[in-house]
């Protein structure tokens, strides 16, 4: 059995469960394993139907009023309990904030391994789940297996895999699991939960994005990218080292943990191309990268690779753009 945790909160934006069900189907192709979703909550019938329509053979359901709100501690105890009873070979969890809090707890309870933020999953020749994930700052990919411990567990960010089309005709089985008595309590009590208005989407929607990395050299030089963005009606994005260095705000982070962008034109200045960053820019139509190192992964995925100092090229771009725009005014 391959299990997918049913992360249904904020359903219309959060499709990761459906994406994982699709991936689980392809993983199960050779072994014929059952693909199962697990829905914990209260009043989750519509999600059970959705999961079946999107590829689940079976949905384990635990429906109880105490589960109306998400709780990492309670859900971890329940999911681990169900896994001990039914012994799935694999558990996949969407790497939403909640999933990234839940999965490690479940892995710990089951005394097994967990690979975070996988960018690919497959079954290898030994029948093990091969988990490919960014490693060591993200300039490398690691292939990881869990040889002896079960289940094999992985989290995957939203948007890595594609969901299957909704199929009303698909048949699946619903298995209701009895809620334990007493329900495992979360010592942290949820006092208030407000759906915060979505942060602004300017980076996600921008047609031109100017991304800067540590290769810009200094905060002052990085800040000049805002002038360039102004000239090109674009937005400025940043890598994690830049955010850590305090050159840009966390809101500007383009990466797995930040924004996923899909501009028509992406300028990439002084970025080496850690996987956490490149995974968020796959949908960029045309990439112009500037880096002193022609071997940097970012340069290899660019359409135009400029081997030069990012600060100097951005300054020259600003200067020449201004001249060209002045001639039109």
């Amino acid at each position: 059995m391959i299990w997918v945790f049913g992360d249904y909160r904020n359903y219309f934006q959060n499709r990761v469960t459906l994406q994982l069900l699709a991936k689980a189907r392809s993983l199960a192709e050779d072994s014929g394993a059952l693909v199962c979703a697990v829905a914990l909550g209260h009043g989750v019938d519509e999600y059970v139907r959705e999961y079946i329509a999107h590829g689940a053979d079976r949905v384990y359901v635990m429906d109880h009023p105490a589960l109306a709100a998400y709780s990492a501690a309670t859900f971890a105890a329940l999911l681990a309990g169900l896994a001990k009873t039914h012994r799935p070979e694999i558990i996949l969890v969407g790497a939403t904030d909640f999933g990234r809090e839940l999965a490690p707890r479940v892995a710990r309870r089951l005394d097994t391994g967990l690979t975070a933020d996988c960018v690919d999953l497959s079954i290898n020749e030994d029948g093990l789940l091969k988990q490919t994930a960014p490693a060591f700052g993200g300039n490398l990919l690691a292939e990881i297996v869990t040889p002896r411990h079960r289940p094999q567990m992985a989290t995957v960010r939203p948007g890595i895999f594609a969901e299957l089309p909704h199929d009303d005709q698909r048949r699946g089985e619903r298995v209701d699991a009895p809620p334990p008595d007493p329900m495992p309590a979360d010592p942290a009590t949820l006092v208030e939960s407000v759906f915060a208005p979505r942060r602004d989407q300017r980076l996600e929607e921008a047609r031109v994005v100017i991304c800067g990395g540590r290769g810009m050299g200094s905060r002052a030089r990085f800040r000049r990218l805002y002038e360039l963005a102004g000239l090109l009606n674009g937005e400025v994005g940043a890598t994690r080292p830049v955010v850590y260095a305090g050159w840009a705000d966390h809101e500007a982070l383009v990466g797995q943990a930040g924004r996923q962008i899909k501009p028509r034109l992406l300028f990439s200045f002084g970025i080496s191309g850690a996987i956490q960053h490149t995974a968020a820019i796959h949908d960029a139509e045309f990439i112009i990268a500037v880096n002193k190192n022609p071997e940097a992964p970012m340069m290899k995925m660019a359409d135009v690779a400029i081997v030069a100092d990012a600060g100097q090229v951005s300054a020259a771009l600003i200067k020449q753009l201004k001249e060209r725009l002045r001639k039109h005014s």
Binding site: N10, D111, G113, G137, E143, V194, A196, L232, R264, L265
Partner: protein
């Protein structure tokens, strides 16, 4: 007095280090270490509590002997004590083993803690697993991504401070009658407020708690006088045949550089020449995306 523990990891100062296929590990020995930026925020959150009320902050670190420098830095910033868990047999530990070891150290040296603070995720591994797993290992409340943390005054929480559930009753049986812990966090777009009786484990978001700078004098004193206690696996009562690499459930098969190569155009030369060439070839594309005409005016 509040007893706070901050988990700090030493990470390589650079993001790219060579992989040693023989040992199946990163050549960390080639890089200078620094305190993980996320751990620094967790330390800052603890120090802000200590700024406001009596508290003792213990920084705890698992790593090679050189990681002692990171604990010294924590002392310089204001931590009261440092605890280094270092043992060659712990090399290659995944998060399951790491949290087992950290929990053993906390139970052994600071069993009467009120709050453990961790960074959201380290800059070198970014798994964000240690905090939540440590809450499980210690069997206490746990909340990730905390943006705001406060200890409610004792009076306000009078009568509530007793442990509420089995999970709060630690084997240490120490007195924990401080106020409740209230945290605010952003989780998948939901702004949540949670409250819990101590003890608890929280991870601090990477948006808040901008770290302070260590005063030079503090740094000097920390290196000369600060006390860092060093423990090995045996001191924690871990099995003598422990090999973290062998006991970790996950196994790294292969590490490689992803080759997402495109057939692309390479431009070299001086910055101004490059930009001229770029405009010559791509002004349509650049101007089109920007919605601005950047073509040179037609020659008269």
């Amino acid at each position: 007095m509040l007893k706070l523990i901050v988990c700090v990891k030493q990470v390589p100062r650079v993001s790219e280090l060579p992989w040693d296929p023989k040992r199946g590990a990163l050549r960390r020995d080639l890089a200078d270490g620094m305190m993980d930026p996320a751990a620094k925020r967790a330390l800052e959150a603890a120090l802000r509590i200590k700024d406001a009320r009596p508290a003792r902050v213990t920084a705890i670190c698992m790593g090679p002997p050189m990681a002692e420098a990171t604990l010294r830095e924590a002392l310089a910033l204001g931590a009261d004590a440092g605890l280094l868990i270092t043992d060659g047999r712990l090399a290659g530990a995944d998060t399951l083993i790491t949290t087992t070891v950290l929990a053993a150290a906390i139970r052994s040296r600071c069993p009467d803690f009120h709050l453990v603070l961790c960074g959201r995720q380290t800059s070198d591994s970014e798994t964000a697993q240690v905090g939540p797993q440590l809450a499980e290992a210690l069997e206490v409340a746990g909340v990730a991504y905390v943006e705001h943390l406060e200890i409610l005054p004792d009076a306000e929480s009078e009568g509530e401070a007793a442990p509420e559930s089995g999970a709060s009753q630690m084997d240490c049986g120490m007195d924990r009658d401080i106020g409740r812990i209230r945290v605010r966090r952003l989780c998948d777009g939901f702004l949540e407020t949670l409250e819990m009786a101590p003890p608890a484990v929280i991870t601090i978001s990477d948006r808040e708690y901008r770290p302070r700078h260590a005063p030079m004098a503090g740094l000097q004193t920390a290196f000369e006088k600060g006390v860092v206690e060093t423990l090995d696996a045996a001191a924690l009562g871990l099995p003598p045949d422990l090999s973290a690499a062998a006991r970790s459930p996950t196994r790294i098969l292969r590490v490689y550089s992803p080759a997402a190569e495109k057939r692309n155009v390479a431009l070299r030369g001086s910055a101004s020449k490059i930009v001229e060439a770029l405009f010559q070839q791509y002004d349509d594309r650049i101007g089109g995306a920007a919605g601005r005409d950047i073509k040179p005016p037609e020659e008269e």
